[in-house]
């Protein structure tokens, strides 16, 4: 040993492994404008595609005349359903077991629906040509309200389903009905509700909104007719699934299709599905023999690309007089729009909505979800959410508040007495989930103490008194939330997408000089996978994260995986990564034993090396072992050092958190000011605290937007009223609140590194926190429930309806 020998602490620090706030490797490119997003791709001879879209929400398409468009110089092709029909591509399957028109086949069912696809030599000519396509429409009656859609005499929307009274998820009881999905014990729930001392009932609406990533959706399709290979670059959150779907649809063998997700400018669920633009670009490239680019504009994106939420949740909750909850029932009317294109695991048409018993020990529960068709855009994707978990969390956190009103109790206390206790984990929920781990009381107490909850309530009481005495026109709202998430789908036995089990994968290859490349089945859209997955590997195999390249998104090179959404990357691919690292380490141990001439069992792992037990001065570092793997003939051991792991999780993970929003509300203008926002997250083992904190800031800002103003609104004839960023609320730096983040750490017992995933927690948790703050401000004046988004106008209306304007 000499002075240059690094200490153990230095060796650990050098890894930049799990638990360190490692700076992101991605940022070096991004800060210099050197990202490579889909719209940056430019190929020789590339054409541009664009859509003629329907101005009507419901109409028969009597004829399409594209002659003038075709005659415009620079226009190469105009595709309509008639052109796609011979290829059987005028309709496509959705992820939810329904089918969707690629181009209008006889009628249109929502405003903005794709009617014809124009392909031209530049985007301006394509835009000109769209104006020249003449479509003769005959307007039909429009249904935008899901309850009206289920009236006996409601217009028939999906004529293609005429007489087909059974769908992918069982019987349909009405021509605009998609499915009824039920879980829980209905009879026992009714009985408990009937016998209860206290019952609260409420309709909780989680309005229609939109993920709206800053980069819209798009692709470049390039069919190489010489070697028969199709390459598609696109904004895909699940590139491998896209390849499989493309193969099934086109009949091109899967090995002849390469799907690449380049850098993605945010996804939030918007980029999970398969859209008509992708299909049309591929067909157009096959037809023209040229690469075809399609990138939607913002209005296309908001009008036609997958929306989120739109759940009408009718709840009934019961409790003892002391506040112990005895039962919960929920019936949802789910507005799926014109086609059922939700991106949920196949067996779960309402996603994981049945996590709606939340953080509470509720003995019996029942959930029924009716999916309904309306004349609105399809979607129902998980907007920074694990398959309807946000809807579920919002529902239960509102019901708790309503129950607190009914009981005349403090809502924080009501939560506390109903939390699942630490010793109850693993906990079987009444709706069939096994919560893996949690310590809700500790998190709750920490959160209440951090914001001085008692002090806040006193301040609020004083404020109410001042308001009543005419000394102020501002009210104070304290918005509480304790949410439980369910993320990380798999397990394969009950989660699949189009038959593909929801496992994920990682492949690690160590280079001779001790650096490495890892490839995963997931794809980052800003989460920083290239940074954080390298940290997991670094901790597992003892090479510095700086020496590890992480690659994702190219189906020709990456192992098959189901992609990134539903906070599944860390729970599923992260586990595959850790286990893959352990496979590498197992082989490295054999090599080290041979090099050190000891028995494998005599070695122990220490940070970055195997050392002889009891003689730590005799060791081989992973770097030395890697070299040996390639340059020595070791008896009985194959050369090389690489491994691949596919991970099928035994269970989901259940991150949780306690969020508190404190809001000042101006009764006369309806304006609000978020005075404080405190977010405590427990996502198990923390891989990169800096990245986690960034995720919380971003997700909470999305939640702020959703709760306080963001919506996809329609008028009664199906016009989208919020189709541009002028009317669709995206908060700026000016109105966005300041966040305080905090954490507790309860590792997942079944996950190789104990990590649970965090990307979606802040969206799930912040929406009820903000909304509850608004409700709480008016609780003393009799408000029970008012639907989001709580924009100034709606808050003003609450005050007016409560008679507070004098």
């Amino acid at each position: 040993m000499n002075d240059l020998t690094p200490t153990r602490e230095e060796r650990i620090a050098n890894l930049k492994g799990m638990g360190t706030s490692r700076k992101r490797v991605e940022d070096v490119r991004f800060t210099q404008g050197k990202g490579n997003y889909v719209d940056d791709i430019k190929l020789q001879g590339m054409l541009f595609g664009d859509f003629v879209r329907s101005p009507y929400a419901h109409a028969r398409v009597k004829s399409i005349n594209a002659d003038a468009a075709r005659a415009l110089p620079g226009v190469v092709a105009v595709l309509t359903a008639a052109d796609l029909a011979p290829l059987n591509l005028h309709w496509m399957p959705t992820l939810a077991g329904d089918k969707q028109m690629v181009l209008a086949d006889g009628k249109v069912l929502f405003q903005g629906q794709e009617v014809a696809f124009v392909v031209a030599t530049d985007r301006y000519i394509a835009a000109d040509a769209i104006e020249l396509v003449e479509v003769d429409y005959e307007e039909l009656p429009v249904v935008v309200d899901p309850f009206a859609a289920m009236e006996p005499d409601a217009p028939v929307l999906r004529e293609d389903l005429n007489g087909i009274m059974s769908g992918a998820h069982g019987p349909r009881r009405h021509h605009n009905h998609i499915f009824l999905w039920e879980t829980g014990d209905k009879a026992a729930t009714e009985e408990a509700l009937g016998a209860a001392e206290v019952v609260a009932e409420e309709m909780v609406y989680y309005h229609r909104t939109h993920p709206c990533p800053l980069e819209t959706c798009g692709c470049v399709a390039s069919m190489d007719k010489v070697n028969g290979k199709l390459t598609v670059w696109g904004t895909f959150q699940a590139p491998h699934v896209v390849r499989t779907v493309a193969s099934l649809l086109s009949g091109i063998e899967e090995h002849n299709i390469r799907v690449v997700s380049p850098d993605i400018g945010g996804g939030f669920g918007n980029k999970v599905g398969v859209y008509p633009g992708y299909v049309c670009s591929i067909v157009a490239s096959i037809v023209t023999g040229k690469p075809v680019k399609w990138v939607e504009d913002r209005m296309d994106n908001l009008m036609a690309t997958a929306f989120a939420r739109d759940y009408w949740m009718k709840g009934r909750i019961s409790a003892t007089k002391e506040g112990k909850i005895t039962a919960l029932r929920c019936h949802v009317t789910a507005d799926h729009g014109a086609f059922d294109a939700c991106a949920d695991p196949t067996k779960f048409p309402a996603g994981f909505f049945h996590i709606c018993t939340g953080s509470y020990d509720i003995p019996v529960a029942y959930v029924g979800v009716d999916g309904v068709y309306t004349n609105k855009a399809p979607g129902g994707v998980a907007y920074r959410c694990s398959f309807r978990v946000t809807e579920a969390a919002y529902f239960i956190e509102r019901m708790i508040e309503v129950l607190a009103i009914e009981l005349g109790m403090d809502a924080a206390e009501l939560r506390r007495i109903n939390f699942i206790r630490k010793e109850q984990f693993p906990y079987q929920s009444a709706l069939g989930w096994e919560y893996d781990s949690g310590d809700y009381h500790t998190a709750w107490d920490k959160a209440l103490a951090a914001v001085d909850y008692k002090g806040l309530r006193e301040e609020q009481a004083q404020r109410i008194a001042d308001f009543k005495a005419g000394r102020t026109r501002k009210l104070l709202g304290i918005g509480l939330t304790h949410f439980t998430e369910i993320v990380g789908a798999g397990p394969v036995k009950n989660c699949d997408i189009l038959g593909m089990g929801m496992f994920d994968s990682c492949e690690i290859r160590i280079h001779p000089t001790g650096s490495a490349i890892a490839r995963l089945g997931t794809i980052s859209q800003g989460q920083g996978h290239a940074t954080t997955f390298a940290q997991i590997i670094a901790s597992e195999i003892g090479l510095s994260a700086d020496s590890i390249t992480v690659e994702e998104g190219d189906t020709d090179t990456a192992p098959y995986g189901l992609g990134t959404y539903g906070s599944r990357s860390t729970p599923v691919a992260g586990a595959a990564t850790a286990l893959c690292g352990r496979k590498i380490r197992a082989k490295a141990q054999m090599i080290a034993a041979w090099l050190l001439e000891v028995h494998e069992g005599d070695l122990e792992w220490d940070v970055d090396r195997f050392q002889v037990k009891g003689a730590p001065e005799r060791f081989k570092t992973m770097k030395e072992i890697a070299y040996a793997a390639y340059n020595q003939a070791i008896p009985g051991i194959e050369p090389g050092l690489e491994a691949v792991s596919y991970y099928d999780p035994p269970n989901m993970t259940y991150p949780f958190g306690a969020y508190i929003a404190v809001m000042e509300i101006d009764v006369d203008t309806g304006e609000h000011e978020v005075r404080q926002f405190y977010a405590l997250d427990d996502c198990g083992t923390r891989i990169n605290p800096m990245v986690i904190e960034g995720q919380v800031h971003g997700g909470a800002t999305e939640g702020y937007a959703i709760a306080m103003g963001q919506e996809i609104a329609y008028d009664e004839i199906g016009n989208v009223k919020t189709g541009t960023l002028m009317d669709f609320f995206l908060p700026t730096a000016w109105e966005t609140p300041h966040y305080t983040t905090d954490h507790t750490e309860t590792p997942s017992p079944h996950h190789p590194i104990g990590a649970k995933g965090v990307g979606e927690s802040p969206n799930v948790g912040s929406v009820p926190a903000f909304s509850n703050a608004v409700h709480d401000a008016f609780r003393a004046f009799g408000l029970r429930q008012s639907h989001m988004p709580h924009d100034h106008w709606r808050i003003w209306k609450i005050a007016r309806d409560l008679g507070l304007h004098g």
Partner: protein, 163 residues
Amino acid sequence: MGKKMQVSLTVNGEVHEVLAEPRELLIHTLREKLGITGPHIGCETSHCGACTVDMNGRSVKACTVFVAQADGAEITTIEGLGGPDGLHVLQRMFREHHGLQCGYCTPGMITRAHRLLQENPQPTEEEVRFGMAGNLCRCTGYQNIVKAIMAAAAEMNAKEAAE
């Protein structure tokens, strides 16, 4: 379609002559004709700021400027901010303070922040938030962007004081 016109513009110190229809937007000229893909397109209606570039010493949204209006202009994009000795302090600080995630807004953000700090070298946090309100970010919640800009301002001011 209109008749094409000859436009001359200086981008990041380099003079370009382009032939363009009068209706062509500056963002498309930059991205498609000149291969300068740092500035992005997020809305094309001047709301998001992803396309922000510096034109004659002012921040402009390149999706709302006709290239014809940029005739003779001096334009700086994210690609032109770094100097011979490496990254601009804003670029470093955005990384240092985790002021970006997907990176899509980042070129516009940094280009705008660069101009903001010329206009107001010692902004308060409020002034930064107000001055950056034309640039939307969907990932970060702005908190770390603001931090990065404040840190860059501090470093630039310290450097200036030392000189």
